[in-house]
């Protein structure tokens, strides 16, 4: 931080401490007094309440660097948006990659009004750009393939098919000596085949 900014931060802190120590309201509410450091933007440059009159609308449009006709505040339903503008829900993926943006990775110019959900629409996250193939085609292809494979595997489980097998046949009279039987005793004849 530059010495100028540090100085301003110190001024802000001193004001806060002064307000807390000898403010007219006692204790905690002194923190919310009207005393505010001059180090940040003025009250008029920050977002405010929902605009009621056309003059307020014009002032808000000017504040956000938008045309008065383009400026449309987010509908006021108590959710705390204030006078913030409603911008189109378009992801940064859709912006021209070849234009010389001031911030190329964000595809944004300096001073341009930021969408409320800007951090969702950056290029690492949600992408609203048009899909190369129509949605119903993609759905059909994916679910068709997956469904077909599931069906075939299920049928394969139900109706297994493999080469015919028989019990294993051992030589030397069914391994008579290896199995520990009496070497003198004659082993029984087992016929494995018919010619």
């Amino acid at each position: 931080m530059s010495p100028q900014q540090l100085n301003m931060a110190a001024v802000g802190f001193r004001n806060w401490a002064r307000a807390l120590s000898k403010g007219k309201q006692p204790g905690f509410s002194a923190l919310f007094s009207q005393v505010r450091a001059a180090s940040g933007p003025s009250k008029g440059m920050l977002p405010g309440p929902y605009p009621q009159t056309p003059e307020e609308r014009a002032a808000a449009a000017k504040k956000y660097n938008m045309r008065v006709e383009d400026y449309e505040p987010i509908p006021d339903n108590g959710e705390g948006y204030g006078d913030y503008p409603q911008l189109p829900d378009r992801s940064q993926h859709e912006r021209d990659p070849w234009y010389s943006w001031d911030h190329p990775d964000l595809r944004r110019n300096w001073g341009e009004p930021i969408h409320w959900d800007f951090d969702m629409f950056i290029r690492n996250r949600v992408d609203t750009s048009p899909s190369p193939v129509a949605w119903h085609t993609m759905c059909k292809h994916l679910f068709g393939f997956v469904g077909f494979m599931l069906l075939m595997f299920y049928l394969g489980e139900k109706f297994p098919s493999y080469q015919p097998v028989a019990p294993k046949q051992y030589p030397y009279s069914n391994l008579h000596l290896e199995r520990g039987e009496d070497p003198e005793k004659q082993p029984e004849e087992v016929k494995h085949f018919n010619i």
Binding site: N65, R67, N77, G78, E79, G82, G111, S131, W135
Partner: protein, 127 residues
């Protein structure tokens, strides 16, 4: 591509958008010119600051400051309406009770099984 239907929540490609071909009225053009004017002003301000050889500090973006302020201070303009109360209750109050109930019943059942000796430890590593 006459039957192209865009994906839900996605947009139409610019080349398939009919407004591009039909909205060439004077008003539209004037609007575009005004927008280009605003853009050029902002570009100029940024470039002046960027290329200023005496600048030692970061270039502050007031739009960013406003965005951060708006996102971090929604309670200044918060009002308790039906919708906001419902959402607040649904996300803040109901999970407390539901989770307590679910976890308590599950663990009580397990405790009873252990006490009765019928608990089956499926993936035990130690004996």
């Amino acid at each position: 591509m006459a039957d192209y239907r865009e994906a839900p929540l996605a947009t139409r490609p610019k080349t398939l958008d009919p407004a591009e071909y039909f909205n060439l009225s004077l008003n539209q053009r004037r609007a575009e010119e005004e927008r280009a004017g605003l853009r050029a002003q902002l570009k100029r301000q940024y470039q002046m600051q960027l290329n200023n050889p005496h600048r030692k500090e970061l270039i502050e973006d007031p739009a960013l400051t406003r965005w951060v302020y708006a996102r971090t201070n929604p309670y200044n303009h918060f009002r308790a309406t039906k919708k906001t109360s419902l959402l607040g209750g649904l996300f803040g109050v109901v999970p407390l009770f539901v989770l307590y109930y679910v976890l308590k019943t599950d663990r009580d059942k397990k405790e009873e099984q252990i006490k009765a000796g019928t608990y089956d430890r499926k993936f035990k590593l130690a004996y």
